[in-house]
């Protein structure tokens, strides 16, 4: 069924990965941190701090992706979504605050709006995969990557390694195919 299809797709991806290594050796930039590390480190610490604030007060490990299903419970009666009814209001609040916090950055530091040049089709199709994968895989970069790794959860570490490797292969293949950005 679906899981078999996915397994086949996964196998194809791994085969593609092997051949990609032969065809297009990744060009590693001479400076691994061309933009320095402070913006990344400070940003990461703040992401952790935001999670920690909620955890200290409530004991909740707030990930970003459950919002997708919990918000769908407002418009769909499917049991997968209805299980999140109890948390859907604060998850909406959490996501709204993420948008607002980023807007504060845009106004104070960025100096206005910024828009991506990545093609809308990459965003849409990639978003569909992200939406399926994060829910099937029990977490995203914040749930597995920040909360799960911070919990030394073996499940999360395996999840992170899996999506990191597959994402690297995918991005390298897309770039090798000449799609920019």
């Amino acid at each position: 069924m679906l899981s078999d299809l996915i397994t086949v797709a996964l196998a194809a991806d791994l085969v593609a990965a092997t051949s990609a290594v032969d065809l297009a050796p990744a060009s590693i930039a001479s400076d691994p941190f061309p933009n320095g590390i402070s913006r990344y480190a400070v940003g990461g610490l703040l992401v952790g701090l935001g999670t920690a604030v909620i955890y200290l007060g409530t004991g909740i490990s707030a990930g970003a992706s459950t919002f997708l299903e919990s918000t769908l419970s407002y418009v769909s009666g499917e049991s997968r979504f209805q299980r999140y009814v109890a948390s859907r209001d604060w998850r909406l609040l959490f996501t709204g605050s993420i948008v607002l916090g980023a807007a504060v950055y845009a106004v104070t530091i960025q100096g206005g709006a910024w828009t991506t040049d990545v093609h809308p089709w990459r965003l849409l199709v990639g978003g569909i995969f992200v939406g399926v994968g994060t829910r099937v895989g029990k977490g995203c970069t914040s749930g597995h990557g920040v909360c799960g790794v911070g919990s030394a959860s073996k499940t999360s570490i395996v999840g992170v390694v899996t999506f990191l490797l597959v994402a690297i292969v995918t991005a390298q293949l897309v770039a090798a195919a000449g799609v920019t950005p």
Binding site: A29, L56, S97, V166, A171
Partner: protein, 156 residues
Amino acid sequence: MAGSAAQRHPLFAPLVILGGLIFGFGLAYSHMARPEVVLDFLQFEDFGLVFVMFGGAAVTGVTYFLAPRLLGRAVLSGDDFERRLKPFDRNVLVGGAIFGVGWGLSGICPGAAYASVGIGNVTILWAIAGMFIGAYAQGVFRSRSPSDEAAPTSAD
């Protein structure tokens, strides 16, 4: 969990807002709200993302370790402090791989996508629309095949 609204502390909502503000500001500050920067990482042109993920995990790691020892219970809700542990099964691998394809294709993940709206990136609404479509599709499918949830192999 502090799930149901009935017994929530009056400061529950303000705390979630404060946490979300810091979280979103951090994602914007780290440039993760820009898909180009994530793609640069995945293409080995800028390894900064490692500092974002491990910087975040370091803070949560210390918090998860110290909170139960120093505070005992969550300040507002009185709930036990628990680590974020999920049962491992094949879904973690399958879902992680699907997530990886999407992340590698688009350079965007859920939290960063919300933050991207905040920095004025209206184009990112394509990705958010995609995430809802994907989450809806798997939800409908899995709501109708309960066996999908069965038999976790270990409790992490």
